[in-house]
C-alpha cells in the first residue's frame, strides 16, 4: 500500500535528476521546441521539489513527475486542456485490417531496412509531431516510457478505456504513415487488397457529400 513519505530536498534532487532524460523526451514531443522543452522540465522539477511531500512511496516517481509535467504543459500552453483530436476522413489501417501480407510486415521490420534507421527516426519524429496531442502523449508514455495503462490514465486524467482508444488510434495513424513511407522508399512493394477486406472494400458505397448523406438518412428513417 502506498503512503506519503518525507524526502529531503537533497534526496529528491538525486532522484529527480535521474529522470531528466525521460522528462526532456516527453517535454520535447509535447512542446515540439527544444528551448520550451527545457523550460518545461525546469519548471516541472522545481514544482515537484516543492510538492515532494505529496509523492507516495511505492509508486513510480517517473510517472508522478510526468503527471506534473503534463499539467504544467496544459496550464502554460493549453488553457483548455490538450489539443483535441480532429482527423479528416477515415484513418484506415492497411496493416491492422489485414490488407497486406505477413511478408510485407516482415520487410518493414527487416534488419536490412534498419540501415535506414536515422532516416526512419526523423520520419517517426515528424509523424509523431503531426499527431493530435492526446494521441501523441499516449503513444510516447506507453512506447517510450513504458508506463502502464493505469499510470497513463492518471497522467492524462482520463479513464483507462480512453487511454486504450487514444493509443490504438495514435499507433494506427503512425503505422499507416510509416507504411506509406516504407513504400516510398521501396522497402515494401505495392500490394493488391487481399481476402475478405478486399471484397468488403469493393462493395463499399461511393463517396457522397454531407447533404446527400443527410437526405439519405432522412429517407431511411
Amino acid at each position: 500500500m502506498s503512503r506519503k513519505v518525507s524526502i529531503s530536498a537533497r534526496e529528491f534532487e538525486t532522484l529527480a535528476t535521474s529522470q531528466l532524460s525521460a522528462l526532456l523526451g516527453v517535454a520535447s514531443r509535447l512542446t515540439r521546441n527544444p528551448a520550451d522543452a527545457q523550460d518545461l522540465v525546469q519548471d516541472t522539477l522545481l514544482k515537484a521539489m516543492r510538492a515532494r511531500d505529496q509523492f507516495e512511496a511505492g509508486t513510480n516517481m517517473r510517472a508522478w513527475l510526468l503527471r506534473i509535467l503534463t499539467n504544467t504543459f496544459i496550464n502554460r500552453y493549453r488553457r483548455g486542456g490538450l489539443e483535441r483530436s480532429v482527423l479528416d476522413g477515415p484513418d484506415a489501417d492497411p496493416l491492422a485490417d489485414g490488407w497486406i501480407s505477413a511478408s510485407t510486415m516482415e520487410s518493414m521490420r527487416d534488419p536490412e531496412s534498419q540501415a535506414l534507421r536515422p532516416m526512419l527516426e526523423q520520419e517517426i519524429k515528424r509523424i509523431l509531431d503531426e499527431l493530435p496531442e492526446e494521441f501523441r502523449l499516449a503513444v510516447v508514455l506507453s512506447d517510450v516510457e513504458e508506463l502502464s495503462y493505469k499510470e497513463i490514465a492518471d497522467i492524462m486524467g482520463c479513464p483507462i478505456g480512453t487511454v486504450m482508444s487514444r493509443l490504438h488510434r495514435g499507433r494506427r495513424l503512425l503505422k499507416g504513415r510509416l507504411y506509406e513511407h516504407a513504400r516510398a522508399l521501396g522497402i515494401v512493394g505495392p500490394e493488391a487488397l487481399v481476402g475478405e477486406t478486399a471484397e468488403k472494400t469493393a462493395k463499399q458505397e461511393p463517396v457522397i457529400d454531407l447533404s446527400q448523406y443527410r437526405e439519405k438518412r432522412v429517407a431511411r428513417s
Binding site: L20, G25, A35, Q38, Q42, A102, E106, K125
Partner: protein, 279 residues
C-alpha cells in the same frame, strides 16, 4: 485474415503492452501457436515501439549545460529551503514579537543571507548575530556594487559574434539569447563572463549614439537576488526593478528563472524601458 484472427486482432495491442487479463492471454497465446500472420503483426508492433523509443530519445539528448542548469536550479531551491528551516528553528529558540506581515519577508531575507553566506564561505566571520533583514540588504547592496564596478571597469569582450554567445552558457548556467536592442540606438560590442556573488553572470556590452554605455547582465535569478534594494514599477505589463548607484542607473527584471540587470549611463526611465525589451 481468418475469422479467428478477427477475434484475436483487438487483443493484440494489449497483449504487446502486457496489459491483457490472464484468460485472454491464454486465448491469444494458443492462437499464436498456429498463426504466423498474427505473430508477425505482434513482431511488427514491437519493432515499431522500439523505433518510436529510439526516435524520441535520439531527438532530445540531455546536454551537459542543461544538466548543469537543472542542478543549479535544484541546488538553489535546496539552499533556500535549508535557509528557511534555519530561520524557523532560530525563531523557535528566540521568539520575538513579529507580526505575520513581518515574518515572511524576514524569513525570505534570512534565506537569501544564508544562500549568500554559504556560497561565499563567510559564515565563520559572522561573530555577532546580525539581523536577517539587514544582512540581506547588505548582500543585495554588495551585488549592486559589483554590477556597477563591472560596468565602470568593463573588460574586453570574449565573444563578439552573437551566434557564439551560447559558448558562455555552461559558465553562466542559463540560456543566452541575443537581445540586439538596435531599435534603441545601441551597438553591441561583445560579451564576457563576470563573477557576481561568487557565481557567474554574462555581461553584454552595448554603446549608444553619443558614447553612453550599457551593460546587460544575464544570470540565474534564483541565485543572484538584487531586487530587494530597487524600486518596483511596471513597464509594458512586466514588473521591472529600478534604482541607481554612484551615478549608474540599474534596472532589473526576470523571465522564467533568468535574471536580466542593466547598468547604464542612462536615466532610470530609459534603463527600465530598455531592460523590459531584452527578452
Amino acid at each position: 485474415m481468418t475469422s479467428s484472427c478477427r477475434q484475436i486482432a483487438p487483443l493484440l495491442e494489449a497483449f504487446g503492452d502486457e496489459e491483457l487479463a490472464a484468460d485472454k492471454l491464454l486465448e491469444v497465446e494458443q492462437h499464436l501457436v498456429d498463426c504466423d500472420t498474427c505473430g508477425e503483426r505482434i513482431r511488427l508492433n514491437q519493432a515499431m515501439h522500439l523505433s518510436v523509443r529510439n526516435a524520441v530519445r535520439a531527438a532530445a539528448p540531455v546536454m551537459p549545460n542543461f544538466e548543469a542548469r537543472i542542478a543549479d536550479a535544484l541546488r538553489a531551491e535546496v539552499l533556500r529551503e535549508e535557509g528557511l528551516d534555519a530561520v524557523v528553528e532560530r525563531e523557535a529558540q528566540h521568539p520575538r514579537m513579529l507580526s505575520w506581515r513581518g515574518v515572511v519577508p524576514v524569513a525570505a531575507a534570512a534565506a537569501l543571507t544564508l544562500v549568500w553566506a554559504a556560497s561565499t564561505g563567510k559564515q565563520a566571520q559572522t561573530e555577532r548575530p546580525v539581523s536577517a533583514s539587514s544582512a540581506s540588504l547588505s548582500t543585495a547592496d554588495q551585488l549592486l556594487e559589483e554590477l556597477v564596478d563591472h560596468h565602470m571597469n568593463a573588460r574586453g569582450p570574449r565573444v563578439t559574434e552573437p551566434a557564439l554567445l551560447s559558448q558562455l552558457e555552461p559558465e553562466v548556467g542559463v540560456p543566452l539569447n541575443f537581445p540586439s536592442l538596435k531599435a534603441y540606438g545601441t551597438r553591441w560590442e561583445g560579451a564576457n563572463v563576470v563573477p557576481v556573488n561568487n557565481l557567474h553572470a554574462a555581461s553584454l556590452r552595448y554603446t549608444m549614439v553619443g558614447g553612453k554605455h550599457v551593460t546587460l547582465y544575464v544570470y540565474n535569478s534564483t541565485r543572484v537576488p538584487i531586487e530587494s534594494r530597487l524600486k518596483a514599477r511596471t513597464v509594458r505589463n512586466e514588473p521591472v526593478y529600478v534604482g541607481s548607484r554612484r551615478g549608474v542607473s540599474i534596472a532589473a527584471t526576470e523571465h522564467r528563472g533568468v535574471g536580466y540587470a542593466l547598468a547604464s549611463d542612462l536615466n532610470d526611465d530609459e534603463s527600465a524601458e530598455l531592460v523590459a525589451a531584452v527578452y
